[in-house]
């Protein structure tokens, strides 16, 4: 009747082989674009994680920055300095180093806000989808109202409120939390709507009913049975919103309400460079801009691939 399964000792290798053989791994290997996008994303991650060891110098360390080095052009331009491969900005911070450190902030803020949005959205979506009725109606109406405002507007609003409450001097560490909160709050709706939809499908499936027949508590049914089965789409949204969150963070920083200017992110650099764009110092804004565009594009491509790979209809 049944084929004897692998021996326990071979399980690890077995799982690896199965993962390699799986449809997702296969579709990954089939798509060159996806592999390039994954490689690029990986490079950013490595740079972000190991910034202090990779970057030529620490642009956040004021003692190592000298105004004497400001407005250095890239090394291949006339007057370039080998210490600043991509040139330096108005305060003498190396563009390359700042990009590496900036990606770190961009990715960290992006990840944190995506996780925040996902946890909030998935929880509310599960509650709405499983409970139904008035609870569902309330959560989804709130979501729809929020959806009718652009995300950046929501983020600005929350940021403004937070600054109003905490005072403008609450810069520093609080600023990071404020920006994570404001980006997170502006993206939870997508998670909630998707999860609610999947949850409503899953909760009527027979395996969920089978758990209810035993008498399993609703919270446990949702957590153990429904949640693992709605995570696929969440992963896709998370990847796509990661790109969006990075952009939003850059936009907020560009508008000057993002992370503190003493620790510039990619958005901050673009804003700084913007002031000097027409006086000839193009590198201050172009390089961070390209870095941001490539990162967002790579993450987006990964998200697109993941959506297709997880969608059985397109396989």
């Amino acid at each position: 009747m049944s084929v004897v399964s692998s021996l326990p000792g071979r399980r690890g290798a077995d799982m690896l082989r199965r993962a390699w053989d799986s449809d997702i791994a296969y579709s990954f290997r089939q798509s060159k674009v996806t592999m390039v996008a994954a490689a690029v994303t990986l490079v950013y991650f490595v740079f972000a994680l190991f910034a202090p060891w990779i970057a030529p110098h620490d642009p956040y360390d004021l003692s190592s920055v000298s105004l004497m080095d400001s407005f250095m052009p890239p090394v291949w331009e006339e007057g370039g300095d080998p210490r600043f491969l991509l040139g330096s900005d108005d305060q003498g911070r190396g563009i390359l180093s700042t990009i590496i450190y900036g990606s770190r902030i961009s990715l960290a803020v992006g990840f944190a806000s995506v996780i925040f949005a996902a946890v909030l959205g998935v929880t509310l979506g599960l509650i709405a989808g499983y409970a139904g009725g008035a609870v569902d109606a309330f959560i989804m109406r709130v979501a729809e109202v929020q959806l009718s405002f652009p995300a950046i507007l929501i983020a600005l609003l929350i940021d403004g409120v937070a600054r109003g409450v905490l005072g403008n001097e609450a810069q520093g560490d609080i600023a990071y939390f404020v920006i994570i909160l404001s980006i997170g709050l502006s993206f939870w709706v997508q998670y909630a709507r998707t999860v609610r939809g999947s949850c409503m499908v899953e909760k009527n499936k027979e395996y969920v009913q089978a758990a209810r027949v035993i008498g399993v508590r609703p919270a446990l049914v949702v957590f153990r049975h429904v949640l693992p089965n709605v995570l696929g789409p969440v992963l896709v949204i998370a990847t796509i919103t990661l790109a969006l969150a990075i952009i939003t963070e850059a936009t907020l920083s560009f508008l000057g309400v993002g992370v503190p200017p003493t620790s510039p992110s990619l958005g901050t650099m673009i804003r700084i460079g913007n002031d000097f764009l027409f006086s000839g110092e193009w590198w201050i804004t172009i390089f961070p801009g390209v870095a941001l565009a490539v990162l967002v594009l790579a993450v987006n491509l990964l998200g697109d691939w993941l959506r297709d790979a997880l969608n059985p209809k397109l396989r």
């Binding site: 692998s6 027979e206 035993i214």
Partner: protein, 349 residues
């Protein structure tokens, strides 16, 4: 398979395990509140189950048959507590389930019944290993403690239903439909229940696999003294497995009786029509009364006897007055024509 040529029929001691009395379930299928207000629509109710009563003796199989939308699956879900009844009550071993208020009080009862579902592809959580699926009732009810004890028990259960203990390591998608249904049965048996509700357990399976599952279910009934409530639309399967059969039409139980009696001597015109409609493997070429019409919408069922628009014997009374259950032999029939004795005897012997 076990070769025990046990005599068919209830091992029943006459003791009633499950008793359903005047059971009713109404669903609110109205449009959302806002739409109702804006469009001036009234509330709409669907009576899925209407005044259904029957008893199941311990150790026997009671089947409910009927066409889609007749409420048979709703009865199954009411019995296991997935829905709360709108009317009437369900008594299990003499305990009225509606009187039990808390989850904690319900737990010792819940482990005495289990349910097997129709779709073997949807009834197992795709993210769980088979061993965890089968062990869920054991863990939830705290029947065994310790990983090793549970593993051993799961292995036993899998072997009991004809799988290998090693299959526990796999995921549901690695099994065929028939094997998955065996896993469902193993899980249902995990809490050592007395009573299993089977909602169309074989209708998604091929005939040869269906035969395997039906034989397995009968063997388990003999060996473990199980009581089944069996829901199906397939009359041949129902004839094969049941001791008692109830026929439902638009939420009402129109007739129930001993299985052999019901099939050899159907009373209600609807039962006769159903039996007449089954394609016949014997190709006896028996003359059939063609049945016209289709099942009306359960939202606005016909007045009186729900079957009257399709019934060749309907008269004025059938169109206005709901027939009451009439005791006939061991079973009951809800038909004015039977009550008045104006129904011709069925042609076949």
């Amino acid at each position: 398979m076990a070769e025990v040529a046990a005599p068919q029929g209830p091992v029943a001691t006459g003791e009633t395990l499950l008793s359903v009395r005047d059971l009713g379930k109404t669903f609110d299928v109205s449009a959302p509140f806002l739409n109702r207000v804006l469009q001036g629509q009234p509330r709409v109710h669907l009576t899925a189950v209407d005044d259904v009563s029957f008893d199941i003796p311990r150790g026997s199989t009671f089947s409910l048959v009927g066409e889609s939308g007749c409420g048979k699956s709703t009865v199954a879900r009411l019995v296991v507590g997935l829905y709360r009844p709108s009317q009437g009550r369900v008594e299990f071993e003499g305990t009225d389930l509606a009187r039990i208020q808390t989850r904690r009080q319900m737990a010792p009862l819940r482990r005495k019944w289990a349910m097997i579902f129709q779709d073997p592809y949807a009834s197992l959580n795709p993210r769980w290993r088979v061993a965890d699926i089968v062990a869920e009732p054991i863990r939830y009810h705290g029947l065994l403690s310790g990983g090793q004890a549970i593993r051993t028990r799961v292995g036993e259960l899998l072997e009991l239903v004809g799988l290998s203990a090693l299959d526990g390591e796999k995921y549901p998608h690695e099994f065929s439909g028939g094997q998955r249904q065996r896993i469902s049965i193993a899980r249902a048996l995990a809490s050592e229940p007395d009573f299993i509700v089977c909602d169309e357990p074989t209708s998604a399976l091929d005939v040869s696999v269906q035969a395997q599952i039906l034989n397995l279910m009968k063997r388990l009934q003999r060996e473990l003294g199980l009581t089944y409530l069996f829901i199906s639309h397939d009359l041949a399967v129902v004839y094969h497995i049941s001791d008692y059969v109830g026929v439902m039409y638009l939420g009402r139980l129109v007739e129930w009786s001993d299985a052999r009696l019901l099939f050899s001597n159907p009373r209600h015109p609807y039962t006769r029509m159903l039996l007449d409609a089954i394609p016949d493997l014997e190709m006896s070429g028996r003359a059939r009364t063609p049945v016209g019409g289709e099942v009306p919408s359960p939202i606005a069922p016909p007045a009186g006897c729900h079957f009257n628009p399709r019934c060749p014997f309907a008269d004025e009374r059938c169109r206005s007055e709901t027939p009451m259950a009439l005791k006939v032999g061991v079973g009951e029939v809800r038909c004015h024509a039977v009550e008045e004795g104006r129904l011709p005897e069925p042609e076949s012997a």
